[in-house]
Symmetry: C2
Subunit: 324 residues, 2 copies
């Protein structure tokens, strides 16, 4: 069953009860970040459907009261065994809420509590359109289309058909820059990321999953709009920033932050979605593809940084090693 | 007009159009953080009402499509002159959406676009129940009560009546700890905050408005549930954390993070809502008072830190000084 069919099935099942009214996304870390575009999509595009994005453990302990007969729960766990996310899925199953689980490993613990399992693409040369982020987005897009309607559906699907080629081209485009970045930042103890709009989740992931988790570099993901209301005071000639200049609605926010950085910071790496080819996607839907672009361009930098720092991306001191 | 009356008026005005269906909170920096409990309240307690919390500039550039005849916009600006927030209010006014402006200065630019102005308490010996955070929460509580109904309304109001005394007692309680904290952290270049649930906004504010803005110390506010999915790898004997152990639904998340910190970190400052007296508020509503407690206890630490570091909290290099 593809996502369109899954949502058709859920919509049919809920018809008598009043249809889908709330959509909850629950995941942890990188999977949480991957849900950001889906959450932003429904927040921006839907008139009546409520959407919530939760860390799985927060969802389990702080379950919204609306969670019930008109809800859909979408969870994601890469290997299908993240304990908090498995619990969130179990909560959904027990409440009779349809659970869609996005995972890379189909035969994993989370599938026990999933009504629908979506296996996403992963690894070298993966199809970007089949990735977790786009699959999650598709749940949001199909839900909107099949309930309130979504006028830009065809344009969105056209974007899906283009994203793989754009990303692969962009990765080649940044290869040399990434090597330079790695050399310049190999001794840094802090690197900030900055972003806005539907692509913010990619900055969050780079900050928590790469810099903090895989490189033990201090980091925070700063919202480009919030930057001017506190964080910008940290800016000086030494502090490094990686800024996502997005394509779409919030580009002006990123450009404003970049303009400030160009005046007062000296160590700024710019990932510009326009420069990286995202503008061929229609402007009515392009916002939602920033994440896939940035999130897949970062690994080129990450590989280079890991080599330069002699700190492999697989290095951990706690994760999977100690009890927690 | 008090907030109850404001919401009664808006509800009456919207009756024919179908009532209030979406509530948007838009602000920047500290005011954005102050809206976090209100957003969390409606996200958790409301069945049908959509709620969104936006940085003002994001709201202006990325306005949700539902924003219109069934919406309410709540904005906050301390001096009423934050340009992005004034623009957000203007957007609301032009769209015919009722705008409630929370500000400390009643005769300020934002009031031009506000249908309702709420002046909140601020400064030495302010009434905590009259503060921006609680006033914002009251908009959420009244909207829920007057639309879907809110069964814990009386308990919530009882909490409002208690919070001032709890906070003032808690501030005395941490006075000595704050001095010790300041001495121990005066030379730190990074300090993390950690939190979960409705009180997370207080950790965000401490991180961006105090450590980054007012002390030029690197920082990030880590969600206690997300900590184990990336950020915890940064933990070692040297990195300092300030953790909010909340009272209410997500306490288990904070306790789990604290337990990990107690094993692998050596420099941890614990703000425990139980220890600070929040438990006298009913458990059905206590979640929403964590922010007011932590957000008002932090200043005791901040004052001490500023003195110890000889870096007054008023020091800025960019804010209000250069064009941005």
């Amino acid at each position: 069953m593809d996502i369109k069919q899954i949502i058709e099935q859920i919509t049919a099942d809920k018809k008598e009860a009043g249809g889908i009214k709330q959509v909850y996304y629950a995941a942890c870390g990188g999977s949480y970040g991957a849900f950001y575009p889906a959450k932003t999509f429904l927040e921006k595009e839907a008139k009546d459907i409520k959407v919530g994005l939760y860390n799985s453990n927060e969802f389990v302990h702080n379950t919204p009261k609306a969670f019930g007969e008109n809800s859909v729960l979408v969870v994601a766990s890469h290997k299908g065994n993240t304990p908090e996310t498995v619990k969130a899925a179990e909560l959904g199953k027990k409440a009779g809420v349809p659970v869609i689980a996005l995972t890379w490993i189909e035969d994993s613990p989370i599938t026990e509590y999933a009504d629908y399992v979506v296996k996403y693409s992963f690894g070298e040369n993966k199809d970007i359109a089949g990735e977790k982020t786009v699959q999650a987005l598709m749940t949001a897009v199909e839900i909107l289309k099949q309930t309130e309607g979504y006028e830009n559906y065809d344009k969105f699907m056209d974007g899906v058909s283009r994203i793989d080629r754009i990303v692969k081209q962009a990765c080649k485009h940044v290869a040399n820059r990434a090597l330079t970045f790695a050399r310049k930042h190999k001794d840094d103890s802090v690197i900030y990321t900055m972003a806005s709009g539907a692509g913010y989740g990619a900055a969050y992931m780079e900050s928590i999953c790469i810099f903090m988790e895989m490189q033990w570099i201090n980091s925070a993901s700063i919202h480009s709009g919030e930057y001017f209301h506190g964080p910008f005071e940290i800016t000086d000639a030494e502090i490094p920033f990686v800024i996502q200049v997005s394509e779409g609605s919030t580009r002006a926010l990123d450009e404003r932050a970049l303009s400030f950085l160009n005046r007062y910071a000296k160590r700024v790496e710019v990932l510009d979605a326009k420069d990286l080819g995202l503008s061929t996607i229609d402007s009515s839907v392009v916002d939602y593809f920033n994440h896939s672009l940035f999130n897949n361009v970062y690994p080129v930098y990450n590989q280079a940084l890991a080599v330069e720092r002699e700190h492999p991306l697989t290095t951990r001191r706690y994760m999977w090693k100690v009890e927690y």
